[in-house]
C-alpha cells in the first residue's frame, strides 16, 4: 500500500485566486486541475479529521470557514513532500514526523495481539515444508533452535518462570521478539499459543474419532479431515516435536513425552475432566504422527528411496508399510513371530490398562527401529524377549519390594471414570476414601505414573 501525501503551503486554498499558479508538479491543464481540486478537498477533509490534535484549533477553524463560504480555488504552492509506504511488519515508512504522533510505531500483524487470536487473522509465513503458519510461531521456533533449545533437558516439559513469561508475552503482543529469552520460556509460549487459540487445533476431530484411530494409516487419514489452517498448524507442530525427539539423548524427551506435554494444548474443552480423558487419545495420535515423521526422515536420510517417494504418501513403500495385515489394534504382543510393523504399531493404541506398563519399553524399541530400519528382523526377536523380561520385571518388582501397605492407584481409568469424577465433584475426603478403595489396584505402581489409562 503506497500513498502520496500532498501538503499545500499556507493552508490550502488561496481565496479563489492563483489560477494556473500551481507550482511543483501540478500540471496546468484545466481538466486535471478540476480533478485535483476535488481530490484535494477530500484529502483536506480527511486530514482535518486526523489532524485535530496536531493542529492548532484556530487554524482549523480558519480552514473550515474558508471552505464553507468560499469557492474552492486552485491549489497553490503544492509540493511533493514525501512518499509513504505501509506494510504490516514495519508500519508506515517515510511518514513525516508530525503525522507519526497519531500512529503506533510498529504494526506487527493484522491484529494487535499474538495470543488468543485465530491463525486466520494473523500474519502468516511459510515454513520449509510449505505450511502456512503464523509468523510469530516461526520466529519463536527459530529463536528456540538458535539458542540450543532442542538440546535443553526437558524442553517443552519444564515450565518457564512466570514473571519472564508475562514480560515476553507483552513484548510479543507489541510485535517485538525480545532478545535473550530463556529457551523454556520460548517453548512454554509456543505451547501457550496453541492452548489459547479460540478453538483447538484438533477440535475439528471428535473424541470418538480420535479414540477409534489406532493405526498410523488411520491417524494420517483422520488428520486429513482438518481444515487447511489447522492441518498446517498440526503439521508444523509435529515437525517441531520430531525435531525435539531427534535430540532425545540430550533433552530426554521421547516421542511419548513430547506428545504428552503437547496433547492437552491441542484441544479445547469446557469440561477439564473430559479434556483430560481426551488428552490421552490425542497424545497417542500425536505420538503416531511424530514417529511417522521421524521414520520418513530416516528413510530420506538413508537414501534408500528417492526423495520423491519418501515424501509422497502414495508411494508403494508406504502402502505396503501401512497395509500390513498384522497391523493390530489390540496391542497384544504376538511373540517372536510378530514382525517389525506389528511392533511399531502395537503401541500406537495403548488404550488398555494392561498395556500401559509396556509402553515405556516399547517406546524405546520403536526408537531403535526408527534408527535402524534395515536390521529390523534380527532386532525384533531380541527385543521381544526384552519386552517380556521388562513386563515380567514390571509386574514382579512391586511385589518383591512390597509390603502390603504400599498400594497405588490408577486415577482415571475408563471404567472408573465415574467414581473419580464424582469424587472431585463432591470433593470431600470421605469421597476420596471411597475412590481410593475402588481404585486400589494391587502391585501396579509402575503404571501409576501414566495416570489415565484412557
Amino acid at each position: 500500500m503506497t500513498g502520496l501525501v500532498m501538503v499545500t503551503k499556507g493552508g490550502g486554498c488561496g481565496g479563489g485566486g492563483g489560477k494556473g499558479g500551481a507550482k511543483g508538479g501540478v500540471k496546468s491543464r484545466e481538466e486535471e486541475q478540476q480533478n485535483q481540486i476535488s481530490v484535494l478537498a477530500l484529502l483536506l477533509a480527511a486530514l482535518r479529521k486526523s489532524m485535530v490534535s496536531c493542529r492548532v484549533d484556530s487554524r482549523d477553524e480558519v480552514i473550515s470557514s474558508t471552505l464553507q463560504h468560499m469557492e474552492i480555488g486552485w491549489p497553490t504552492n503544492v509540493r511533493h513532500i514525501t512518499h509513504v509506504t505501509f506494510d504490516r511488519f514495519n508500519g508506515f515508512l517515510g511518514l513525516p514526523v508530525e503525522f507519526q504522533v497519531e500512529i503506533p510505531n510498529r504494526v506487527p500483524s493484522a491484529s494487535a495481539n499474538v495470543f488468543g487470536v485465530s491463525a486466520e487473522s494473523m500474519q502468516c509465513s511459510f515454513d520449509p515444508k510449505g505450511n502456512s503458519v503464523p509468523t510469530i510461531l516461526l520466529l519463536m521456533q527459530e529463536r528456540l533452535y538458535s539458542q540450543g533449545g532442542l538440546k535443553a533437558e526437558g524442553i517443552f516439559r519444564i515450565n518457564p518462570e512466570n514473571g519472564q513469561e508475562e514480560h515476553v508475552r507483552d513484548q510479543l503482543n507489541k510485535g517485538i521478539v525480545p532478545d535473550n529469552i530463556d529457551v523454556h520460556c520460548l517453548a512454554g509460549l509456543i505451547k501457550a499459543w496453541f492452548r489459547e487459540l479460540p478453538s483447538g487445533v484438533l477440535d475439528g476431530l471428535s473424541p470418538e474419532q480420535v479414540l477409534r484411530c489406532n493405526t498410523e494409516e488411520e491417524s494420517v487419514d483422520l488428520v486429513k479431515q482438518l481444515k487447511p489452517t489447522e492441518a498446517a498448524l498440526l503439521n508444523w507442530a509435529v515437525g517441531l516435536m520430531a525435531d525435539v525427539v531427534e535430540e532425545e539423548e540430550s533433552n530426554k524427551m521421547n516421542a511419548r513425552n513430547i506428545a504428552m506435554v503437547f496433547a492437552p494444548n491441542m484441544t479445547r474443552m469446557s469440561d477439564p475432566l473430559t479434556a483430560l480423558m481426551h488428552a490421552v487419545q490425542v497424545m497417542n495420535l500425536l505420538k503416531t504422527l511424530i514417529i511417522k515423521t521421524l521414520w520418513k526422515r530416516e528413510e530420506t536420510a538413508m537414501g534408500g528411496y528417492s526423495p520423491m517417494s519418501s515424501h509422497s504418501c502414495d508411494c508403494p513403500t508406504d502402502e505396503e508399510f501401512d497395509s500390513q495385515p498384522e497391523m493390530d489394534t489390540s496391542c497384544e504382543l504376538r511373540g517372536p513371530t510378530s514382525d517389525y510393523d506389528n511392533t511399531l504399531y502395537s503401541n500406537c493404541s495403548a488404550d488398555e490398562d494392561e498395556i500401559e506398563a509396556e509402553v515405556e519399553s516399547l517406546g524405546e524399541i520403536e526408537e531403535c527401529f526408527v534408527r535402524q530400519p534395515d536390521e529390523h528382523k534380527n532386532i525384533t526377536h531380541s527385543f521381544f524377549e526384552e519386552v517380556v523380561d521388562e513386563s515380567q520385571r514390571d509386574d514382579s518388582s512391586p511385589r518383591s519390594c512390597s509390603v502390603r501397605s504400599i498400594e497405588s492407584g490408577v486415577s482415571f481409568t475408563d471404567k472408573k471414570n465415574k467414581s473419580s469424577a464424582l469424587c472431585i465433584g463432591n470433593g470431600e475426603n470421605i469421597g476420596d476414601t471411597d475412590m481410593v478403595d475402588k481404585l486400589d489396584e494391587p502391585t501396579r505402581s509402575d503404571t501409576s505414573s501414566l495416570s489415565i489409562a484412557g
Binding site: 526437558g154 516439559r157 519444564i158 515450565n159 518457564p160 518462570e161 512466570n162 514473571g163 519472564q164 530463556d182 523454556h184 512454554g188 505451547k191 492452548r195 530426554k252 511419548r256 513425552n257 504428552m260 506435554v261 496433547a263 492437552p264 494444548n265 477439564p272 475432566l273 483430560l276 488428552a279 490421552v280 497424545m283 515405556e360 518388582s397 512391586p398 519390594c401 512390597s402 502390603r404 501397605s405 504400599i406 498400594e407 497405588s408 492407584g409 490408577v410 486415577s411 482415571f412 472431585i424 465433584g425 470433593g427 470431600e428 475426603n429 470421605i430 476420596d432 476414601t433 471411597d434 481410593v436 478403595d437 486400589d440 505402581s445 501409576s448 505414573s449 501414566l450 495416570s451 489415565i452
Partner: protein, 204 residues
Amino acid sequence: METQFDYFFKLLMIGDSGVGKSSLLLSFTAGTFDELSPTIGVDFKVKHVTVGGKKLKLAIWDTAGQERFRTLTSSYYRGAQGVVMVYDVTRRETFTNLSEVWAKEFELYSTNQDCIKMLVGNKVDKESQRVVTKKEGIEFARENGCLFIECSAKKHVNVQQCFDELVLKIVDTPSLLAEGAKGVKKNMFNQKTPEANAATGACC
C-alpha cells in the same frame, strides 16, 4: 487383605513441571527411582504408615505440573490435610514460581485453614548445579509458615523424613486429626458391607 487403619489423610503434591513430584512419590512409596514421563492430570498413590502406634492411611495426590492442567487443580486442593510444595534446587524459576503461582493457588483453593504445608527442595544430588541455597529455602518456608526439607528422590535422601515430618505435624494438629478420623468412619462402614456379604456367602 483388608488393611485396618485409624486415620485417613489426603496429601497433595504441587510444583512446576519436571521438579520431581512423581519421582519423590515413587521414591517414598516404592523406594525406586526412574526417569518418569510427565504426569497427565492427577495421579495418586496410597501408603500406610504407623505413627505413635496409630495406623494411618495416606492418599497422596500427585498433580501434573503442565500449565494446561492448572485449571483442574482447584478441585485437588479440597479436603487436603497436607500439601507438599516441590521445587528443583537447580532451577531457580521453579522456586520463584512456587511463591508467584503455587502458593497463591493454594491460598485461593485450600478449604482447610490448618492444612500443613511442606516446602521441599528436590534434586540435591546435583549439588554442583545448585542455584537455590538452603538458606533461601528456609527463609521462604519461614515467611509462608511451611515446614522445610531438602531431599533427593534419585538418591533417596530425606524422602522418608519429608513425609514423616509432614504426617507428624498433621497428627499434632487436632482439627486435622479429627478430619482424618471422620474419613475412617465412613470408610469402615463401606468396608463392612462386602465383608458381611462374604460371610453370609460362606455360611451357605
